[in-house]
Symmetry: C2
Subunit: 275 residues, 2 copies
């Protein structure tokens, strides 16, 4: 079963386009776990248990584990997710970008060591920094395309006069990912939720690719505009929410509160698709 | 002592602009260590011991450790390098690229957990993906600028009509790193050695930045052209060689052979600077 098959099946089964982002910050953990980097696994496992029937995907962000020497906890978390939610694909958010033999090592880290179903990548070093990941049959790779941070403009929004049609850099990446780079249908794109017009533009250039959309907060407005811009019947979007879910409550009811927030966001997204 | 101070001091003390890249691949280890991922530390420590008086910097590539669950071995290696070669700065080659709070986690990983003196980064997400690293006083950050892999052209060599002067993307990155992004003099650039004309161009746009130059192999020609293009009396270059040194011999004399190759390359580079 390929990543894309899993994604579609999870989307149907859980009636969801919500991705639960796992960015564990011990300083923000609820009372009894607060500040304890040895409880990263426990905290995340509770969130996973509470949202396993609501998510189209889980997205652990590896930096939050690496900063705390918690690679072992990430390994255990990956196993836990596969056990309690075998139908939900796991996107390892790592934004790797390197070439040849080094990229192969990163691919082995993501797909073999951690058993991720997909990974996020930077396209800055070009196709041969992406290709090593595509050799892992059925695995997915999301390329950074248009990010919604303030500095996202610095490079991504520059216009390329050396490419036919003079696209912006992010438009060029979208075309490459939809076309020549997508050898076996494994690619997707990361597009920030801040500018729905840009999601719409990426969707026009990449009509069939799955779009991973971070940056949807607690506000409903974003979510609805995001779905309208990016969602198509046959082209999935994966709308990520991390902190709004993880830290919905600072008390002992944090898992229940996370479920409540995930449910609310999931339903909001589904309604937007139907509207 | 800042990264740049360390770099200058090590360059003087070891009479060197050679960076020893640590990309350990167990399948390529010499006979008695071959294939054993538990010997990554041992192998690298031998290389470090054999080249500590010849290098301007060491550059461990984190992917080679992460793929083998060898973060603990990398920690030990960092300690070993600081002990046997306290004067030689360590560049953690990680090519991270993420924003805000996630970039902070990666910075903590590099500078606090591993104690690196500098790190490599991707500029694709813009200034706020670089800034969190600059908050670590005295630490260095090398931005990918022009890489010499075949796909390096795909984005880096595109011409930007939306930027004054219509630079290529890599030229734009060089200017940003020399100018507005370089708040406290912590930035450097990664420039591939394949095209000396491009190193020359980067040097013209970034006259004072340290340049990290990978891709110099066993061939002397490259090395000489690289130095002529990039080296200036007051602007260091750091010319990396990994495999030619690490795997100079497949026998028990591997450390001795590594030293011989490092010495040869160091001297070749020094001669090119004097020519």
């Amino acid at each position: 079963m390929t990543f894309l098959d899993m994604l579609r099946a999870a989307g149907r089964q859980n009636g969801s386009m919500l991705c639960v982002g796992l960015d564990p910050e011990p300083t923000r953990f609820p009372s009894r776990l607060k500040g304890d980097a040895n409880k990263i696994y426990d905290f995340c496992a509770h969130i996973v248990d509470a949202t396993a029937d609501l998510a189209i995907a889980f997205k652990p962000q590896i930096a939050y584990f690496a900063a705390h020497r918690a690679e072992g906890q990430l390994e255990r978390l990956m196993e836990h997710m596969r056990r309690v939610a075998p139908q939900v694909p796991i996107i390892l958010d790592a934004k790797r970008g390197d070439i040849g033999s080094t990229a192969e090592q990163y691919a082995r880290e993501a797909f073999e060591r951690y058993g991720a179903d997909a990974v996020t990548l930077s396209p800055f070093m070009g196709f041969d920094s992406v290709q090593p990941y595509l050799k892992f049959e059925g695995k997915g790779a999301f390329l950074l395309c248009r990010t919604s941070n303030p500095g996202g403009d610095d490079l991504q929004n520059q216009r390329l006069s050396s490419v036919p049609g003079e696209p912006l850099l992010y438009e060029h990446v979208a075309r490459l990912a939809q076309g020549p780079w997508n050898l076996n249908g494994q690619l997707g794109l990361v597009v920030g939720a801040t500018y729905p017009a840009e999601i719409e533009r990426v969707r026009a250039l990449a009509p069939t690719l799955p779009l991973l959309i971070p940056g949807v907060g607690a506000q409903g407005g974003d979510a609805v505009a995001t779905v309208k811009a990016g969602w198509r019947e046959d082209a999935p979007i994966i709308v990520n929410s991390s902190r709004a879910i993880l830290y919905a409550s600072g008390g002992d009811d944090f898992a229940e509160a996370a479920r409540h927030e995930a449910l609310r966001t999931r339903d909001l997204l589904q309604q937007a698709a139907r509207a």
